[in-house]
Assembly symmetry: C2
Homo-oligomer: 430 residues x 2
Amino acid sequence: MNNNINIAIIGLGQIGAYLYNELRNKKKKIEKKTGKKIKIVAISAKNKDKKRKFPINKNIFYNNPLQIFKNKKIDVLFECIGLSNGISKKIVETAIKKKIHVITPNKALIAKHGDYLAKLAEQNSVNLEFEASVAGGIPIIKTIKESLATNKINKVYGILNGTTNYILSEMENSNENFDRVLKKAQKLGYAEPGNPKLDLNGFDAFAKVRILSALSFNTKISKYKCIMEGIENIKLEDIKIANQLGLRVKLLGISQIINDKLFETVHPCLVSKNTYIGNVNGVMNAVITEGKPVGESILQGEGAGPGPTSSSLLSDLLSILQGNIKYPFGISSTKRKSVKTFNNDNYTNSLYLRFDVKDKQGVLSLITNRLAKYKISVKRIIQTPDKKNKKATIVIITHKTKEKNARNCLSIFKNNTNILKFPTLIRLYN
Amino acid sequence: MNNNINIAIIGLGQIGAYLYNELRNKKKKIEKKTGKKIKIVAISAKNKDKKRKFPINKNIFYNNPLQIFKNKKIDVLFECIGLSNGISKKIVETAIKKKIHVITPNKALIAKHGDYLAKLAEQNSVNLEFEASVAGGIPIIKTIKESLATNKINKVYGILNGTTNYILSEMENSNENFDRVLKKAQKLGYAEPGNPKLDLNGFDAFAKVRILSALSFNTKISKYKCIMEGIENIKLEDIKIANQLGLRVKLLGISQIINDKLFETVHPCLVSKNTYIGNVNGVMNAVITEGKPVGESILQGEGAGPGPTSSSLLSDLLSILQGNIKYPFGISSTKRKSVKTFNNDNYTNSLYLRFDVKDKQGVLSLITNRLAKYKISVKRIIQTPDKKNKKATIVIITHKTKEKNARNCLSIFKNNTNILKFPTLIRLYN
């Protein structure tokens, strides 16, 4: 590698613009650590004249990012657009084919096209780095790929989305409902102002789970349908009841090998307030790996925002400037196995079930009979009457039961006039 | 680097023997990840015939480790003897001069001779890696050196010694005194059976602090006298009182830059039970870094034991097999600055002071007057009489005060007949 490194940044939103500024400020530090002189020679974004926090050099601005490849010699390209298809994919693909190293925080792109792009990078002997795609500033990808490389990892899980963790923490702290807290999160820049759906419904965390699985288990990225639930249906009421039970609601992403099969999921969990994961609050992310012989490892840090994300993007840059060509997923594409997937039906948990019912005789026994029919045994029942409205809330904590049982059991409550709404189900994590 | 890698292991105690076994079991995995075939060609230890958990190949055993350099071509050497001087240093020095990469978990060696050995490694274009020297299986060194490389780190601190953390946790849990719990720790293999002093008095944690400072602040390893206190004087009584106050005793290692000066210390701290660090219990280690722009990062995991230590030793091996030559401390020795040190006298904390006194009139006012004279203002006083023995315990929590003040203020109590013992001082962490 030459001592003078030409850099292109595509996408100058929150992340791209911050990165641009960091690269300019840290030239000397990077030279000191790597011996390489970096120079930003091309930038591109949708809108050249948009007001940005950091002034950009318009002389190196390209309206069409693909034009850059024709005009400039680029050594390292940062893709900071986001989204899994369209121009992001095109740019990364083109860069790799032109033997340009690529760094991206784009989890959607890697979760969808990571296998293909990693193979392409390998064929072209360049690096494709994506530390910033999972858990922002937390070096979880390097840790799994390098520090835990000789361990047998069985499970990796955690809080992978700062937006939802902030909302859940803030609902508990402020006693305000989901909609109000979501607005607050949007105001603070923790949730997308336009469409926060991909954070809230678990999609964002799920892309990260897929990347973590591939790295932890040396497998291809899985495509199978799993249980993906977001926090849209978590009510303040559930958070309050959980609180009384010494529990807290957390949106967990979980990936594990069960009987040699891969099980990946994202859903809200009830966790004990006495556990580590129950105390990761606000916009913090945390990732926990269970490996042999290393034991349990925990990494916690800020999971989003331009600062932490830039920290990871620059660590990828340094790794490229210092090192040899590395496999994007730690081992060669030819050695990454496909893996069989665990049947969701057999996923087993204790459940928290909340029923809004008419305050009538026989309703509780209707519910418990139905549960008994599906062999779901009850650990605890909390019934709270609302005399004024002739309603009652019944909360049931069950012993462990399979997903399939729970689904079949609950299905009947859709059409029962004494059950006012389809019951809320939150799985207990243990 | 050749595709066939010859390995030597010097020292076959708990760590060395486990590593030996791991290397033999994970040959294929290592080849898959690096393309290199490893072979253990020489081992050495004090006693060839000692009973070990894993059988060793006696055909490659050397009584004199220095003989290995004459008989065998070695590519990578593991130094697993420990201690900072004598044969450990000699072996590492000789290996580096012979252009052999060295990997070691030896914190005492690195804390004492790290600057010299790093320079030597640089001159000879080999790697000197020591991930396992700090916090066992936690990849804190790689994280600081690579993942946080472009951040400005201001502080790094944590629980760096599993033995003492186990003892403190277990005293709280079991209500047993220091001596009993120490014996339990020795039985469980958490504390050295012969001489646990280096764990208990803070020396072990302090070596780790020095290594972390050098990496975090890009400085030479400091040599200055700092505040180093262990847990030998923590009484069950202190733990119980702390508990009532919502606090917990933790032995923290702390390194930070205050006004461009380096401050390093190891001492017991009272931390709130509601904090993260207050909930790292048992043999767990945790390291927290505060950097810009990444924010606060936490790494937690098993801090000792052959499994976690081997995980880090092997990650260093993979790094050597995959990568270029790297600076042991992240930047060239020529660029690592010396740093001025912060004056201990100005270290400022709230204090917990416990006095065992005669239950006589005027004793409390004697103490408070003395504190007032040194401008140490009292936040809280808890006096517990022990009528039967005509004694009393006075616990005082002070507002923040400088170390010098505290020292001078307390000095008088050495010779006061109403004060039965020199008061116990534990600093509050905040």
